[in-house]
């Protein structure tokens, strides 16, 4: 692994309930850049983030973060490693019994011995960055979906991690918060040199911020390269995905027998 790589995934195999999700995936996530992992729903993009974070164990292959082999670490060492990571969950996953301020303060309180006034300042700086300083006293149940995700982002960056992973950050966002999130992800990367992994199938937004893109399908890396090179890709499967066409080598329909045969067949229900 070269010095400029933060995360490297080698020959990763993973299956769930007997169904293979990954069969031989290799990824290199360079330091200080935004890398996107894209692919149709159900290809295991979120699973990949959980494998990198050590929340799941692969069948074979390895994941390195810095110099640590994630799945060889002891439970304690794994939790220490995660302090250098931030993850933005699709649902936000805020602690429902703590208000906005305490949610963002949580990582600071458990991992640092900072005095209360410094914690307050740091939390307010992070909340200011996501535009929610005024919402500090609200409970998670009182927030909209977009606000929840922004608070979760403030919490994920509370300890200034080296690596931040975004799980479907744009899903279910209105156009304004979508734009805000795109700008935030870009700014965090450029201002703090944070390495970012964005998992998404929102092509336009993701390609606009990513430095490098991996497209995963059928358990393998189907294509990788800069956003421009993917836009011009010749591979029909890649171009179908990037241009969002329903017809192409990737079928829209779940595998089944012929439609007419199915409709005209004698009823299975008596």
């Amino acid at each position: 692994m070269s010095d400029s790589t933060l995360v490297s995934v080698e020959n990763l195999h993973f299956s769930r309930a007997g169904r293979p999700i990954f069969s031989g995936v290799d990824l290199e996530i360079p330091k200080g850049r935004i890398t996107a992992i894209m692919g149709p729903s159900g290809t295991g993009k979120t699973t990949m983030l959980k494998l990198i974070a050590g929340q799941l164990t692969p069948d074979s292959g390895s994941v390195h973060v810095g110099n640590d082999n994630v799945h060889r670490l002891s439970r304690q060492a794994l939790f220490r490693m995660r302090r250098r990571m931030g993850m933005l969950f699709q649902s936000g996953a805020l602690f429902s019994d703590l208000n906005v301020f305490e949610n963002v303060a949580f990582p600071l309180r458990v991992h640092t011995d900072l005095p209360e006034h410094m914690i307050r300042d740091l939390v307010l700086i992070k909340l200011q960055a996501v535009g929610l300083r005024g919402a500090r006293d609200l409970m998670p149940a009182e927030l909209s979906g977009g606000m929840t995700r922004r608070v979760a982002l403030a919490r994920a960056i509370a300890l200034d991690p080296d690596l931040i992973m975004y799980d479907e950050p744009f899903v279910g966002q209105d156009p304004i918060s979508m734009g805000v999130l795109v700008t935030l992800i870009r700014r965090l990367n450029s201002a703090f040199n944070m390495t970012a992994i964005v998992v998404s199938h929102d092509i336009k937004e993701t390609l606009s911020i990513a430095d490098h893109v991996y497209v995963i399908a059928d358990g393998k890396v189907m294509a990788s390269g800069s956003p421009d090179s993917l836009r011009d890709a010749r591979d029909p499967r890649v171009s179908q995905f990037i241009q969002g066409k329903p017809d192409g080598p990737v079928p829209f329909h779940y595998p089944s027998k012929d439609f007419y045969e199915d409709i005209l067949a004698p009823s299975e229900v008596s």
Partner: protein, 258 residues
């Protein structure tokens, strides 16, 4: 799948689940407590213990009153109604207080623990805690386990005391049993080590088992609404059956003469 294969499959699944729950218990229990841990434990003592107190107190009162009433009807037939205090105290201390408190605890606190932890799992709060570098076994599970272990014997003491008061109310105040013989017979027949401590030992065992079942069911459930509902039901069913089954074994060991 043939019935034999299916039986083998179920047996292996059950054994695997038992193994997981044992590892889970060891990982959650054994680590050095810190100041923060004590604060979290006190908070859970309130939710698990103090909040269960009203239902335990009311049940204890009524059960004490019923035993006194039933006991009086039988004992007075033999002219032995002065033994009422002894009967109320022994049935409460040895059996009813630990068992009924544990059953109420499984229904009131156990189901709440399972549902709470399950919902935290379903909304990815446990997962996000892990990503922040905090072990949920220490932060979420351990304080709840210790709170259950410690509050059960305390609740049992409350149950016994209030139950005996209920028995006094009915037996002495209402039915006219002599106050001196009510307390005197009780004092003469209840042996501290045999009766009180054995009852307490039972409640300690029940506390461990019921809380363990409740917390593990919440942590291990399938994170869907159906999964949460099934796990909550399992907590109450498994918890109650475990209490009744263990009660027989413990009673045989403590009071049986082999």
């Amino acid at each position: 799948m043939s019935p034999l294969t299916s039986l083998g499959h179920k047996t292996l699944n059950t054994l695997e689940s038992l193994g997981r729950s044992a590892i889970f218990l060891v990982q959650a229990l054994f680590h050095l407590p810190r100041a923060e841990g004590v604060r979290l434990w006190l908070r859970q003592m309130y939710f698990v213990g103090v909040m269960s107190l009203p239902i335990v107190a009311v049940s204890g009162l009524f059960i004490g009153m019923v035993i006194a009433l039933q006991g009086y009807l039988v004992l007075s037939g033999f002219g032995a109604d002065e033994a009422l205090g002894q009967m109320v105290a022994l049935s409460l201390l040895r059996e009813l207080a630990p068992v009924v408190t544990a059953l109420l605890f499984a229904g009131r606190a156990g189901s709440a623990l399972t549902a709470e932890i399950g919902l935290m799992k379903a909304t990815e709060q446990l997962s996000s805690m892990e990503m922040i570098g905090v072990d949920p076994l220490r932060r979420v599970i351990s304080p709840r386990l210790w709170a259950g272990f410690i509050s059960m014997p305390i609740l049992t003491v409350f149950f016994s005391v209030i139950g005996i008061a209920g028995g006094y109310l009915v037996g002495v105040d209402w039915l006219g049993v002599d106050q001196g013989s009510f307390w005197g017979n009780m004092q003469g027949s209840v042996i501290f080590l045999d009766d009180v401590m054995n009852g307490m030992l039972k409640s300690v065992v029940f506390g461990v088992v019921v809380t363990w079942i409740a917390v593990f069911q919440g942590y291990d459930l399938i994170p869907t609404s159906e999964g949460i509902s099934r796990a909550t039901t399992r907590t109450v069913v498994f918890g109650s059956l475990a209490v009744l089954g263990l009660d027989f074994i413990l009673t045989a060991l403590m009071f049986g003469e082999f």
